[in-house]
């Protein structure tokens, strides 16, 4: 079953082209890695897939429904879509705007008009699952960067969406929190959720994605498995995902060559 179908999608910010004639198909139940350097259009694409921005030209369909501004004017469709698709923003400060962590996580379920008992139970369950229960009464703006990111993730996971759009989810996380998140993403390899993760961290790609799209200046330049992508040094170099710099080897020699970090 096709989850998202994108045909000739173009999107511009003022006069800057963020996405340029993009076409791709995303099947349901897969974990997709959206790879690209800064400014390649990953975040913009995620926002379009989440119905927050709308295609300037071209078509984006979710389970056959075109995602247009008019379609989101229909409350029934909008609530149904928000129930099924959740998005984690790159900047957690944008996602945290309530007085306490509990309120923050409860915000989404309340908008979807779940019963009070359901909301309380789901919020506490999610906080415990992400080891955040001790922060329940804290002010989100006063948390550390990593804690903010985890609370933002909890605010999405609490709704148990079928589709997750994750924008740089491992940014600002300490190594332990990173591996917890990667464990979570690996758990969805069974097809129980569709996960689209935008990242420029090559080190986690093999664990979080079954298929990988590489974007470069708003265009799709590769659609392959993570293993294939990681072996294509030329592609990674062309798309600014690896770079040449000087570093020290064990023997004490210092020299420059392109290489991958974190693998």
């Amino acid at each position: 079953m096709t989850l998202f179908e994108i045909e000739s999608l173009t999107y511009r910010f003022n006069r800057i082209t963020a996405l340029d004639g993009l076409s791709m198909t995303i099947p349901a139940g897969t974990r997709i890695g959206l790879l690209g350097a800064n400014g390649s259009g990953k975040s913009t694409l995620l926002r379009i897939l989440d119905g927050l921005y709308f295609a300037e030209s071209g078509v984006v369909r979710f389970l056959g429904d075109a995602l247009t501004e008019a379609r989101f004017g229909d409350n029934e469709f909008a609530y149904g879509f928000r129930r099924r698709v959740g998005m984690l923003f790159q900047n957690p400060d944008a996602q945290l705007f309530n007085a306490t962590v509990f309120d923050e996580v409860a915000f989404g379920p309340l908008q979807l008009r779940w019963s009070a008992a359901d909301v309380r139970a789901r919020v506490m369950d999610t906080l415990e699952r992400l080891r955040l229960a001790h922060l329940e009464h804290r002010v989100p703006q006063r948390l550390s960067g990593g804690e903010k990111k985890r609370v933002a993730l909890a605010s999405v996971l609490v709704m148990d969406p079928e589709v997750l759009l994750l924008d740089e989810p491992t940014d600002a996380l300490d190594p332990r929190s990173q591996s917890q998140l990667i464990d979570l993403l690996m758990g969805w390899a069974d097809g129980s959720k569709s996960v689209i993760t935008a990242t420029h961290h090559l080190g986690i790609l093999g664990d979080i994605a079954d298929r990988c799209f590489v974007l470069d200046r708003g265009r799709l330049v590769a659609d392959r498995t993570p293993a294939d992508i990681l072996q294509d040094e030329d592609l990674l170099d062309r798309t600014n995902l690896i770079h040449v710099h000087r570093h020290r080897h064990d023997e004490g020699h210092v020299h420059s060559h392109p290489h991958l970090h974190g693998l």
């Binding site: 926002r47 923003f89 900047n91 309340l110 908008q111 002010v139």
Partner: protein, 277 residues
């Protein structure tokens, strides 16, 4: 933050730090709101309507002793609700000094009437009517801000917003109010970070002109940042299903004590308007 030792900085920096402390006090209000005082036990709609009726009475009263009595009622409610009096009074005095004195001072000299004195050197005349007008203004500001603080300090912000919606206040207004509250702390922190970043790259005091240029430039950058981040916050709210309406876990239910409190506030307000004619 109040315990931290920070350099005093310039006027703009001190103002931002002062506002940040005020916002932290507002965050503390969420804790006060969970308390068990008299106001905290009331339905937010009753608090909103009751305190608004008292504010209206302050605005309509023409006798200083009546306005002072309403100010006293506000203080009595704060004590009964176990709200931090020192925080309340410092907020009230800040509002009184910062906002009303700028308006009240000129009135002392500009209002025509019987002369009661003259300012030495400049020779400005002080009139009795001018003193009365200024006194009323300061008293009214003190009384209304006290009543306003009672609402903010005893009610969770989300409940205030939902109560506004219960009184059919338009969604757009409630959304803007909610966004302002959610965003202002981030904005102030961004401003403070900018000042810190600038200080880390500055050696020695800057000339007045340079300081003014940096403050103006900083204000522009901050505005651009705030526009960007407020847009992001709104998108994040939409992404979680926000359509403008305020939904809460707690449903508002009017109890007998709520009706009594509402009737009491309305009664005091009507009596004050009658006595203050």
């Amino acid at each position: 933050m109040s315990g931290n030792v920070r350099p005093r900085g310039g006027f703009a920096e001190r103002t931002v730090n002062g506002l940040l402390e005020a916002m932290e006090r507002a965050m503390l209000a969420e804790t006060n709101a969970a308390g068990t005082g008299w106001l905290q036990r009331l339905d937010p709609r009753v608090k909103l309507a009751g305190l608004l009726s008292l504010v209206t009475a302050v605005a309509m009263s023409h006798r200083a002793e009546v306005i002072a009595a309403l100010f006293g009622v506000g203080i009595a409610i704060a004590i009964a609700s176990r709200l931090p009096l020192s925080t309340l009074l410092s907020g009230v005095s800040l509002a009184t000094v910062a906002f009303s004195s700028a308006l009240a001072l000129p009135a002392i000299f500009l209002t025509p009437g019987r002369t009661v004195g003259t300012v030495p050197v400049v020779g400005w005349t002080i009139t009795a009517q001018g003193l009365t007008t200024a006194g009323y203004l300061v008293l009214r500001v003190a009384a209304t801000t006290t009543l306003g603080f009672l609402l903010v300090f005893s009610t969770r912000w989300a409940h205030v917003l939902k109560a506004l919606r219960a009184f059919r206040v338009p969604v757009v207004f409630v959304v803007i109010l909610g966004m302002t509250y959610r965003y202002i702390l981030l904005l102030l922190e961004a401003a403070r970070d900018m000042f810190d970043a600038r200080r880390s790259r500055t050696v020695g005091p800057l000339a007045g002109r340079e300081r003014r240029r940096l403050v103006t430039q900083g204000a522009g950058v901050l505005l651009a940042k705030s526009l960007h981040l407020s847009g992001e916050v709104f998108l994040a709210m939409q992404a979680r299903g926000f359509r403008g309406e305020v939904y809460l876990l707690d449903d508002f239910v009017m109890a007998r004590t709520d009706w009594i409190a509402l009737a009491s506030c309305a009664g005091v307000a009507l009596a004050a308007v009658w006595a203050g004619r």
